[in-house]
């Protein structure tokens, strides 16, 4: 490892003149591919891409209104595909499209949503945007601009990311948008993007009736597709300034890895957990950034480390960090939980701790304030937490707490802990 790192250092230092210049270049190429959300969807003959393109382009060409929902789990490329479509359409109809982008995370309240719409429309049409404009001004402005755009045969595409968040509250934005689209003259496309498959059920009746119920479902790729995508992402282009021999050799090795049985095992296991494209990209990013810079080729080990370091078990890691005393407290709490005590706080834990000590004569018996500190450490580690937020008036000793770790995990953690006292394992077994 240190050797590789040194080579990376050297590579950075000698980037402008060095011999493994092409390796760094290849690494950068792969990394920018992975970080660019669009790339992975670019070449895919994805059904959604053509469907979406057809829908939007027909409503632009025929100058009609439309509303579409793009639904699918997080990280399945809804926005990325939409961006590609919009890019294409902007090339196709450069003068008759203007795009307004909103995000539910930022503009879920009506005031800022209308403000943002007005701002973006102003930017688009080289108008002066007034920060002081009121909510009413902005909403009237929007309707007016929509009308004007309709007269000029220009389509406005509204992209509402995190669509479900716009459906909170009174849905005034959605209503006025969709209502404005009802008039003959306007020409707009509203595209909602949401992870909630029931996003259209969240709409009020008056909004829903104005919404044309077109939905596009984005599903995570199948394992075969993922493998195809993997190959696509990791294949170096043969004519891009990289040495031809190197690129060919690199691609050959990637192909070998993909066909490797053990790799397939890791890959399938990883994707069983979450098969969305974004999850796949994380895996690739980690593996690629661990590429050996001396040889400049990927190896199966890169993927192995990637899958093990992305899929972590935070609770077990946390248990490994605990001191023996903290483990004692956890075990005592677990025993209390098994006894089905209705309420558990530090005093109850101390009582249990004392009784454990009395019956087994453990060597780890510490004073109350030491235990209290260990207890607080556990709270900071979030292995336990206060079970209510009300009791701020009480000091820590009295506030009820609960365990945030299952008995299975605790058992596993104690087994994995190197110098765990035998008594603790015995206590948790019984």
């Amino acid at each position: 490892m240190p050797n590789n790192l040194l080579s990376l250092e050297m590579a950075v230092a000698m980037e402008t003149e060095g011999e493994n210049h092409h390796i760094v270049k290849a690494l950068n190429l792969l990394r920018s591919r992975i970080c660019d959300t669009g790339f992975i969807f670019k070449d895919s003959s994805d059904g959604n891409y053509s469907k979406l393109k057809f829908m939007i382009s027909s409503s632009v060409a025929e100058a009609c209104n439309n509303s579409i929902l793009l639904l699918g789990p997080r990280g399945s490329g809804k926005l990325a595909v939409l961006d590609l479509v919009i890019q294409d359409l902007l090339l196709q109809y450069p003068d008759s499209i203007s795009v307004v982008r909103l995000s539910g995370l930022l503009h879920s309240d009506d005031i800022s949503a209308f403000k943002e719409i007005a701002r973006q429309l102003c930017m688009e049409h080289q108008l002066l945007f007034s920060k002081a404009a009121s909510f009413d001004d902005n909403s009237q402005f929007m309707v007016a601009v929509l009308k004007e755009c309709g007269l000029a045969h220009k389509s406005v595409i509204f992209i509402l990311d995190e669509f479900d968040l716009f459906a909170q509250g009174k849905q005034r934005l959605l209503y006025s948008l969709l209502d404005a689209m009802q008039s003959v003259s306007s020409q707009a496309v509203v595209i909602g993007i949401s992870c909630r498959l029931d996003a259209d059920q969240l709409l009020e009746k008056r909004v829903r009736s104005r919404f044309s119920h077109r939905k596009l479902l984005f599903l995570p790729p199948s394992i075969e597709d993922s493998q195809r995508l993997l190959a696509l992402m990791l294949t170096l282009p043969l004519e891009s300034g990289l040495p031809y021999d190197y690129a060919v050799e690199f691609n050959k090795r990637v192909q070998n890895i993909i066909e490797d049985k053990k790799f397939k095992e890791i890959f399938n296991k990883y994707l069983n957990f979450d098969s969305s494209v974004k999850h796949l990209l994380r895996f690739l990013f980690y593996a690629v950034s661990h590429m050996d810079l001396q040889t400049g080729f990927l190896s199966r080990e890169n993927f192995e480390t990637a899958s093990s370091s992305i899929q972590r078990q935070p609770k077990l890691e946390c248990l490994k960090n605990c001191s023996i005393l903290e483990l004692y407290i956890l075990v005592c709490m677990k025993r209390l939980e098994v006894k089905e005590k209705s309420l558990c706080n530090f005093n109850a834990v101390m009582k249990e701790y004392k009784s454990v000590h009395d019956s087994f004569q453990t060597s780890d018996y510490y004073a109350r304030n030491v235990c209290l500190r260990a207890f607080e450490h556990l709270i900071h580690r979030e292995l336990i937490c206060f079970s209510d937020n009300r009791g701020h008036s009480l000091s820590v000793e009295f506030r009820p707490v609960k365990l945030l770790i299952s008995s299975g995990e605790l058992y596993q953690g104690l087994k994995a802990y190197q110098s765990c006292p035998a008594i603790l394992q015995k206590l948790i077994d019984s």
Binding site: L5, A13, R373, F398
Partner: protein, 539 residues
């Protein structure tokens, strides 16, 4: 913690930085040119360049993490997915990130969610740094932008980032044309959010958390990368109702015993002696806590004790086997006792202000035990008030009459003495309840009544039983005491000795609760020569 003061004059110092590299002259020179306008170079971590081996050797047990981060950051100008660095307290997360950026000489925007304690301040701090804005007298210490809403923040941020990145691109092109071998700063800008776990407790955490986690996707700028530093694992962030694509996790485990040894050995004058001391002392202490800061403060007094038999306090002595044995026998009895007051002195503040105060107070008391006196001044009536609040919290209200009224009291006590098993059981249950529920609440009327009773007792301890009734009457008659007492009560409430709750919705009156421990109450009572234990209801 030093790192909380990071945005002050010497930009970005961490504990290790401030202790090792930043010398006085450097800060002075920094202060001198603090009035000059900032340039893009100020986004780099200041100080002498440092090479990677030095970083690795200055952080024992952290080489895997350092290598991992370097690999993920990658060569110059390579884009990166968001990273999530996590691990327990004092495991070197912030220091290593900052040192690595110092080594790599790449621009970063560092904001700690502890100093920037709400979303507006966080937004403004990020924007200030990006816009190279420094608060000073000339601009009346205002921020570069006023920005409260997330939507404004994203617009401003995009603007600021674009200009910074353009700036960087011009710069790196220049450095390439000048054939600068090192390649300059590159085009990437890194936004670091430290203490990220605190964001969960913010007012609008349900919107700000997904916003920050989704920032990378929202900005769609490959030149921008995000690094989150948190002391809790990513799974503790799930509770928000919004989802997000998880960043790449990098885990800093707590130090192992071996690492801890290396860390503690650093900066020690007599390495050999300290090493032999650690042989003896480290293991038992590691069983209690594995945080370096706590260990070092706990071991310090013990080491002094360890050196006691040596002539020159252990300077320049090379211990041989015999001496080690002798010192071991000397220190052995002290270890067990010092284990139990590991955290007594100079406890680092815990998350809750209240508990922190209490532990500190307790600590103070333990130390002053030899003197047998309180080490803080308090007026007599405040002390009485404190005791009466303690009594009101501990004793059940139904027993007030029997405890403070002479006739009822004696009767009741006699009856109790002949307690049957049932009564004993009841008592146990009460005790249990006290342990579980903590001190009870009480209305002010009860507090004042008890106060008046015990004041009369305290003033005339010789024949309390007889005179109690009369004095009580006399006290109640004189209303002059009352306003003072109320004033004292509010003082005690502000000092967190007594907790004032919200008014009870049914009764309407405010309820109080005493927060002091029994030790402290006894101590206060002793200073007044008040027989507190007599009035405490328990076995």
């Amino acid at each position: 913690m030093d790192k909380e003061e990071a945005p002050q004059i010497p930009r970005r110092t961490t504990r290790s930085l401030s202790s090792t590299s930043t010398s006085n002259t450097k800060t002075a020179s920094k202060e001198n040119n603090s009035l000059e306008s900032l340039t893009i170079n100020d986004l780099l971590v200041g100080g002498d360049p440092i090479n990677l081996d030095d970083i690795i050797s200055s952080f024992p047990g952290r080489s895997t993490q350092i290598h991992e981060i370097v690999r993920l950051l990658g060569p110059l100008n390579s884009p990166i997915l968001p990273m999530f660095v996590y691990g327990g307290a004092s495991t070197g997360k912030t220091s290593i990130i900052l040192q690595l950026f110092k080594h790599l000489q790449r621009p970063l925007v560092y904001s700690s969610c502890r100093t920037c304690y709400n979303q507006r301040i966080l937004f403004e701090s990020v924007l200030n740094q990006l816009l190279l804005h420094r608060k000073n007298a000339a601009n009346c210490y205002t921020n570069a932008k006023r920005c409260e809403r997330p939507s404004d923040f994203i617009n401003f941020l995009r603007e600021a980032l674009t200009s910074v990145i353009d700036n960087l691109k011009v710069k790196s092109e220049k450095s390439i044309s000048e054939k600068n071998i090192h390649g300059g700063m590159g085009n990437m800008i890194y936004l670091v959010f430290d203490n990220f776990h605190l964001v969960r407790d913010w007012d609008k955490s349900s919107t700000i958390l997904p916003l920050l986690f989704n920032l990378h996707d929202m900005l769609k700028m490959p030149e921008v990368s995000l690094i989150f530093i948190s002391s809790t694992s990513p799974d503790t962030f799930y509770s928000t109702n919004m989802g997000y694509v998880e960043p790449i996790p990098i885990y800093f485990p707590d130090y192992t015993e071996g690492d801890m040894r290396q860390i503690l050995l650093r900066n020690q004058a007599n390495q050999k002696l300290y090493s032999s001391f650690l042989d003896v002392a480290l293991r038992p202490f590691c069983r209690i806590t594995r945080q370096v800061g706590e260990l070092s403060s706990a071991l310090k007094p013990l080491f002094e004790k360890y050196c006691e038999p040596l002539s020159d306090k252990g300077k320049g002595v090379v211990p041989n086997e015999d001496m080690k044995r002798r010192l071991f026998n000397h220190i052995k009895p002290h270890i067990a006792s010092s284990l139990n007051d590991v955290f007594k002195v100079s406890s680092p503040p815990s998350s809750e202000a209240e508990s922190g105060k209490e532990t500190k107070l307790k600590g103070n008391l333990k130390r002053s035990e030899e003197i047998g006196d309180l080490d803080f001044h308090m007026s007599t009536s405040a002390k009485y008030l404190l005791i009466s609040a303690f009594l009101a919290s501990r004793n059940p209200a139904t027993l007030d009459a029997s405890l403070f009224d002479s006739k009822g009291g004696s009767d009741n006590r006699k009856r109790k003495r002949k307690a049957s098993e049932k009564a004993l059981e009841k008592k146990e249950m009460l005790e249990e309840e006290l342990l579980m529920k903590g001190p009870g609440t009480f209305p002010m009327e009860r507090l004042i009544a008890i106060f008046q009773c015990i004041v009369s007792v305290g003033e005339d301890p010789s024949d309390e039983e007889e005179k109690n009734n009369e004095e009580l009457g006399a006290q109640c008659g004189s209303g002059s005491l009352m306003s003072d007492v109320l004033l004292q009560l509010s003082t005690l409430c502000n000092a967190n000795f007594i907790f004032r709750g919200k008014s009870c919705p049914i009764e309407g009156s405010t309820r109080y609760r005493s927060t002091i421990s029994e030790d402290l109450a006894l101590k206060v009572a002793r200073s007044l020569k008040f027989p507190l234990s007599k009035y405490l209801y328990r076995s």
